[in-house]
């Protein structure tokens, strides 16, 4: 690799300088070498030489002794874990750069309208300063499955419980054959009811600990004209008791949801039972009805989404990653935004354009170059995703969260230690960034 370095340096020594005096020329070459030498040695030894070596190594087997043509590349595109890594990276490429640009654009436009924009930008930009690895630890904690531990699931639970409250019971059986059904469907009394009738709906197989708090002695219903009254109770007392009969020591089930269905099975009334398990449907018209305990009574409490499980681990990692990079996108786009002429925007507004039209027709097109810089930068970053997956994904779902850069590392250093295959993965990654490399070079040439 020392040879590589001197090759690069020698470009600076090339003998056709337009300078006549020999001594002066050598002096200038020496000065150039002093300035350029250290940097070029680093580039040559640690980047250029290893890149070439890696490409060559990728055609050799694990031991490094046998030339195997494209065998490693065949493995790369057929092995289950590696194909999974490539697929995941494709998802990352499709989702993350576009999302980061969109969020950055929205934030950049919105911050222009508030007075505390500097504070806002600092807050959103802050994750950029910390390591992706630590950011991953942060989100690992956020994404814990138990809603009592993971903040994300805790927030979802609050929202969900407001819409679909958890039922008062988790499971139960009917105490008599007169009541049919199960907790998943709800329970319906077989016997049709008319106004003035009573409905006694006994449930068993409810552990004492599951009886809702505040439950009182159940009271047998008394028929009332024009109403259907009833009770839902725990038809069991120490020693057994008689099924279907409300007895001393048997508790009502408070908070159960009961329905009154008409002859067609359509729910016409819904009530909630009181502390003694009683309920009353008032104003019942002519005809026959059925009483039922609604399945909502047995609705399972929210026990958390498995963010870190095999199915959702990639979205979970992407959320953490977007959280980190949104600030970068916002700051770069905001800088571009502040360079747009205000006169143009004001002129459009004076001409009666709505804010949306100004955004869509003027702001976004004028920002296009900046947006594309952020987009391309994010494409490259996403190809190199590594640290955040190691810290967000628990060991059990790292195979499901795998990406190319991580697969390369695990293949080469994570126990398998196959340098041939590892080199092939690295070369593949290198090939993927080459378009970005060419884009950078083209942009530079255009600018200079």
């Amino acid at each position: 690799m020392a040879a590589d370095a001197s090759v690069s340096v020698s470009e600076g020594h090339a003998p056709h300088l337009p300078e006549p005096s020999g001594a002066g020329r050598w002096r200038r070459h020496a000065v150039t070498a002093i300035f350029l030498g250290p940097a070029l040695v680093f580039l040559a030894v640690w980047i250029v030489y290893p890149t070439i070596r890696t490409v060559i190594r990728s055609f050799f087997d694990r031991s490094g002794d046998n030339f195997v043509w494209f065998d490693n590349y065949k493995t790369l595109f057929t092995s289950d874990t590696l194909v999974k890594a490539i697929e995941n990276n494709a998802i990352w490429l499709a989702v993350v750069p576009a999302t980061v640009v969109a969020i950055g654009l929205i934030f950049a436009v919105l911050t222009e309208r508030i007075r505390w924009s500097v504070a806002f930008k600092i807050v959103v930009f802050m994750p950029m300063a910390i390591s992706l690895f630590a950011a991953g630890v942060i989100w690992h904690i956020m994404f814990q499955k138990d809603p009592d531990q993971g903040a994300v699931n805790a927030a979802i639970k609050v929202a969900r419980d407001a819409v679909v409250p958890a039922g008062v019971l988790t499971s139960a059986n009917a105490s008599t054959p007169g009541l049919r059904g199960d907790p998943d469907q709800g329970f319906v009394l077989r016997a049709p009811l008319r106004a003035g009738a009573t409905a006694t709906m006994g449930l068993t197989a409810i552990p004492p600990a599951q009886v809702p708090a505040g439950a009182k002695q159940a009271v047998p219903p008394r028929g009332e004209a024009g109403k259907i009254t009833g009770v839902v109770w725990r038809d069991f007392r120490p020693g057994g008791g008689k099924p279907g009969v409300v007895e001393r020591g048997e508790q009502g089930i408070p908070g159960a949801t009961v329905n009154l269905q008409d002859a067609n099975g359509k729910v016409v009334k819904t009530e909630t039972t009181g502390d003694d398990g009683s309920f009353t449907f008032a104003g019942v018209g002519a005809g026959s009805y059925r009483a039922a305990i609604d399945k909502d009574t047995f609705a399972k409490p929210f026990d958390g989404i498995a963010w870190l499980g095999p199915k959702l681990i990639t979205p979970a990692c992407m959320i953490a990653y977007i959280w980190v990079w949104a600030g970068f996108s916002m700051v770069v786009i905001a800088a571009g935004l502040s360079a747009i002429s205000r006169e143009v925007l004001e002129a459009a507004r004076t001409d009666g354009a709505t804010e949306w039209q100004v955004f869509r027709r003027i702001t976004v097109p004028m920002l296009a170059p900046v947006l594309s810089v952020v987009f391309v930068t994010m494409l490259i970053n996403v190809l190199k995703v590594f640290d955040i997956i190691l810290s967000v994904a628990p060991g059990s779902s790292q195979d499901d969260a795998n990406v190319i850069a991580l697969a390369m590392w695990r293949t080469s250093f994570g126990g398998v230690n196959d340098f041939g295959l590892g080199s092939a993965i690295a070369t593949f990654l290198f090939l993927l960034v080459i378009p970005a490399l060419l884009l950078n070079v083209r942009r530079f040439k255009r600018e200079s």
Binding site: V31, E112, V123, S412
Partner: protein, 302 residues
């Protein structure tokens, strides 16, 4: 960040300011109209703060209660909070040693990089030599080369050269992979220094080295500061390089990573260690955010 926002803010406020005769009623109305936006932005800012806050509060929870309750319970029961975990952390030799190693790597490679890249940046900006433009294009091309491409050959090289598992080995690797961006950033900044200043120094007979130390370095200080902060944070935060070329030479990220393999049993160690590992970058960022953002804007191609 300030540099980027101040002009924008001024322009937005400009049409609002000259309205002296506006009644307080109209003023209230104007603020009320902005209220939904204010609330939305406050909610977003919270969303960006909460995760880090969550890590901090987790690190304050007693070891036994972390598995039983969420960190937000600490807000309503502040008496539960304790610094015991931090005491345990700083009593743990592995982790304190890791912090020292991290600092050695981050400071060492930043110093070497700044010197080497400043010299090269000057050469690319102001010295004339054949092949200069081609070489610079190569440097730009190297900007995007993924670290993965170098891992295996350097691993073998370090093993035979005795650099494996040493701070020096890690430092040199970081210098090399920081180099393309550093040269790119500094060359562009140096090229913007007025030509007259350099020409007159050369006519006065100053040597190139003298020009570099007396003129370029002082004038280029803002860009050098940007680069130094960037590289310091970048290498402080590194995981993959240290994971590959170190065993016992562990920076803090690797030390946490080896704890993470038993996650759930020792979060009382992981949470404070993670928070310590990100506290310094946060302070550096908040103190020097202007330079940080300038560097970012100058080279958002990495």
């Amino acid at each position: 960040m300030e540099a980027a926002t101040v002009p924008a803010q001024r322009r937005v406020e400009a049409p609002v300011a000259p309205r002296p005769q506006e009644s307080w009623f109209a003023k209230v109305g104007r603020y009320a109209a902005k209220l939904p936006l204010q609330l939305l932005m406050a909610a977003i800012a919270l969303l960006w703060l909460i995760p880090t806050l969550g890590l901090f509060l987790t690190s304050l929870m007693p070891a036994g209660s972390i598995a039983e309750q969420g960190w937000w319970k600490v807000i309503s029961h502040p008496s539960q909070a304790t610094f015991d975990n931090y005491n345990a952390l700083f009593d743990n030799n592995d982790l304190t040693k890791a912090l020292v190693t991290t600092a050695e790597i981050a400071v060492g490679n930043t110093l070497i990089l700044v010197v080497a890249a400043a010299l090269a940046g000057y050469a690319f900006a102001w010295l004339e030599f054949p092949g200069r433009d081609v070489l610079f294009v190569v440097v730009i091309g190297l900007l995007v080369v993924p670290i993965q491409v170098a891992l295996i050959p350097i691993f073998s090289l370090y093993n035979s050269a005795g650099l494996f598992d040493t701070v020096v080995g890690l430092v040199l690797f970081h210098v090399a992979f920081g180099m393309p961006f550093a040269i790119f950033l500094l060359r562009n900044f140096f090229a913007g220094i007025p030509k007259d200043i350099l020409e007159s120094a050369r006519i006065d007979g100053a040597s190139e080295l003298r020009i570099f130390f007396r003129l370029i370095l002082p004038l280029g200080l803002p860009a050098i500061a940007s680069l130094a902060i960037f590289q310091f944070l970048w290498t402080w935060n590194d995981l993959i390089v240290a994971l590959t070329f170190g065993r016992n030479t562990q920076p803090i990220t690797v030390a946490i990573f080896s704890q993470l393999r038993q996650f759930g049993t020792n979060i009382e160690l992981i949470a404070p260690a993670s928070f310590v590992s990100l506290a310094l970058p946060l302070v550096v960022f908040l103190a020097f955010q202007r330079y940080f953002v300038q560097g970012l804007l100058a080279g958002s191609v990495k």
